[in-house]
């Protein structure tokens, strides 16, 4: 313990030197956190986009539904179940849907369409569907068509569209609906073939009363998806058909794209680590070299080399540790600010990205694991760098040193 106290006092004896070393660690942490935040942020943005339109972060569905999205795999869904699942910690909203492919016919034309039975308020919270209405509204007994679909069918507000197809368990699905609204979804594919009914109307159409094809789950920020998944799975009967899937299973291509992007960003991050590692090393190196005389004197006075080495180790680690903590404290408000204010892309890029459903921003992630992981890496670098003074002391030529 004496060594430790000595180390501590040494640090404050040469305050400027210590501060400089700490600041190199501080900046290292700052930059590493920033870089990783941009990396993760872009992925989180990509996930958020796909997930809010298509799958939710988690989804309740029949185990056979993923491979064969047929209405035959609808499952029962009532208020009790909803309450039970909504009570799972981390769950922000549950968005039930019934969907099936049908033939949509106007007086003159027929087209294939994907009908979704939805709860408009919840879809709005999920992906802003109601805000994308360009005419009319969602009404009981009525249908809202995507603009391109309506165009192709030659339909306007007030016209009737007939839907024909297959419902639950091979029963016929047939119904006529007045067009009560037109919507312009962000994604081009959705504009060409989507039609929306209220959930209960769709359930009647598909002969699936009281049932849904899937329930999308959206979590609170920073909730643990895996914990939520486990908890929800435990609410379901083990031998039933319904299970909880996460977005990674449902969107494997997105996952692959993210992993690919991550891998290429890692290369850049490694270079960053090398650079900041050398930066830290530079300061420790200078510090060590300048204390040659001091070391020489200490050893010749009787301090064992091993103990001196240990003391320098404590010093470096303390400096590293304090620098890391300072870096974390300093980076948190910066990341938090960028998290709330993502960098907007230039006007042209912005327009272009909106055209295919991507938000025109550079996002930053505030996931706590970023801070921990980068702090860990930088601390690791400090530990490595700390070896240098240790080795230096061990190999020190006392006579030459004290004469310096």
């Amino acid at each position: 313990m004496l060594l430790f106290k000595l180390a501590w006092r040494n640090l404050w004896r040469s305050r400027k030197r210590s501060l400089i070393t700490m600041s190199s660690v501080f900046f290292a942490v700052l930059l590493a956190v920033f870089a990783e935040s941009v990396n993760r942020g872009s992925h989180e943005g990509m996930i958020r986009n796909s997930v809010s339109y298509f799958t939710g972060y988690l989804q309740l569905q029949d185990s056979a539904y993923m491979d064969e999205p047929s209405l035959d795999y609808c499952f029962a869904w009532d208020e009790q179940q909803e309450a039970a699942f909504a009570a799972v910690p981390g769950v922000k909203s549950l968005v039930p849907r019934v969907q099936g492919f049908v033939l949509a016919a106007s007086n003159s034309k027929t087209r294939g369409a994907m009908v979704l039975g939805i709860d408009p308020a919840r879809e709005e919270a999920l992906n802003g569907l109601q805000s994308q209405l360009i005419a009319g509204n969602f009404e009981s007994g009525g249908i809202v068509l995507a603009d391109r679909l309506a165009e192709r069918l030659g339909l306007a507000l007030g016209d009737t569209v007939v839907l024909l197809g297959q419902g639950y368990q091979s029963q016929q699905a047939a119904g006529a609906y007045p067009v009560t609204g037109l919507v312009k979804p962000k994604l081009p594919e959705l504009r060409k073939q989507s039609a929306y009914l209220l959930l209960s109307d769709a359930q009647t159409l598909f002969a699936a009363e009281g049932m849904v094809s899937s329930v999308l789950v959206m979590p609170h920020e920073n909730a643990s998806i895996s914990q939520m998944q486990a908890k929800m799975q435990s609410l379901l009967s083990a031998d039933g058909y319904v299970m909880v899937r996460n977005w990674e299973e449902l969107l494997p291509e997105l996952l692959a794209a993210i992993e690919f992007d991550n891998a290429s960003n890692r290369i850049v991050l490694v270079i960053l680590y090398i650079v900041i590692g050398f930066g830290i090393f530079g300061t420790v190196l200078t510090m060590t070299l300048e204390r040659r005389k001091e070391f020489g004197v200490l050893v010749s006075v009787g301090m064992r080399r091993g103990r001196l080495a240990l003391m320098t180790l404590y010093e470096t680690l303390l400096l590293g540790g304090m620098g890391v903590i300072a870096g974390l404290l300093g980076s948190m408000p910066i990341v938090a600010w960028f998290y709330d204010h993502p960098v907007p892309l230039s006007a042209e890029l912005g327009e272009m990205s909106e055209n295919f459903g991507v938000d025109p921003f550079i996002y930053f992630s505030a996931d706590p694991s970023i801070f921990l992981s980068q702090a860990g890496i930088v601390m690791g670098m400090c530990a490595l760098v700390a070896l240098y003074p240790v080795l230096y002391v061990k190999k020190l030529n006392v006579l030459q040193a004290s004469r310096a």
Binding site: D72, L103, A105, T110, R111, G112, V162, L164, Q166, Q169, S170, Q171, Q172, A174, G175, A176, A207
Partner: protein
């Protein structure tokens, strides 16, 4: 005298040999004649079997040759009054609850018909058993207690048949179509149709039950049972019109 007897017996033997190897085309032609007529009116029950459920439907159908047919659904209540009309290569659908006659677009042809293992396309396809294939008699086998020809059909180069090989069982005595096996191009069995329960329906005797089993989907089956039939009843072409869809009961 001896020479003449020899010559006569040779002739007899030759002719009987010839009788034992009939033209497969001829067999198939007679088989088709058996199950089709100029026109027919039938009542049937279709059962769709799936791993998780079974669905039964009762329907009445009218047909004239290969070009025209009309199917009216009678049960279950939810689908009662639905009508399908086939006119040459078109399929029309009438659903009373929406009071609309809709022509199925070509893109929907591959969808399943009424949720069964038949597709809409299966109903309209006019691949001729005779013209689209080359035929060969493989062997004889017993099915339903009857001695049958087993005929292998290979699709001709240009014909729009999905299968690479079709094997058909036809009974020798009455030319009943008793079984069909469809094969893919790796020689794998893709689907099987088994006909059974030979009965008198109207003025004809033929298998009254047909079971279609796709091989790649476990627990899937479609069963068609003909409950009553009248053959060669006079039906006009006008019966098979879009306008008539509404009036069918």
């Amino acid at each position: 005298m001896k020479r003449f007897t020899l010559w006569l017996s040779l002739l007899l033997v030759a002719s009987s040999l010839h009788a034992q190897q009939p033209d497969p085309k001829d067999i198939l032609r007679r088989m088709e004649d058996k199950s089709r007529g100029e026109s027919a009116e039938m009542t049937m029950k279709m059962t769709v079997v799936r791993p998780r459920f079974t669905r039964e439907m009762k329907m009445k159908s009218w047909s004239k040759g290969q070009q025209y047919s009309l199917v009216l659904l009678q049960e279950p209540v939810r689908d009662k009054g639905t009508v399908f009309l086939k006119r040459q290569k078109e399929i029309w659908n009438y659903v009373p609850s929406v009071d609309r006659m809709i022509k199925l677009p070509p893109s929907m042809m591959s969808q399943s018909w009424m949720g069964s293992d038949f597709s809409n396309d299966d109903l309209v396809r006019e691949s001729s058993v005779i013209n689209d294939y080359t035929h060969k008699i493989l062997r004889s086998e017993t099915k339903e207690g009857l001695d049958c020809w087993v005929i292998e059909m290979l699709p001709k180069a240009g014909s729009s048949v999905v299968y690479s090989k079709v094997v058909v069982w036809v009974s020798k005595a009455d030319y009943y179509h008793l079984r069909t096996e469809n094969y893919g191009d790796k020689g794998e069995l893709v689907s099987t149709m088994v006909m059974s329960d030979i009965k008198k329906l109207g003025n004809r005797t033929l298998p009254s039950r047909m079971e279609l089993t796709p091989m790649d989907k476990k627990g899937h089956k479609t069963i068609m049972v003909y409950e009553a039939a009248q053959f060669d009843v006079p039906i006009s072409e006008g019966f098979f019109s879009v306008q008539n869809l509404k009036n069918i009961r």
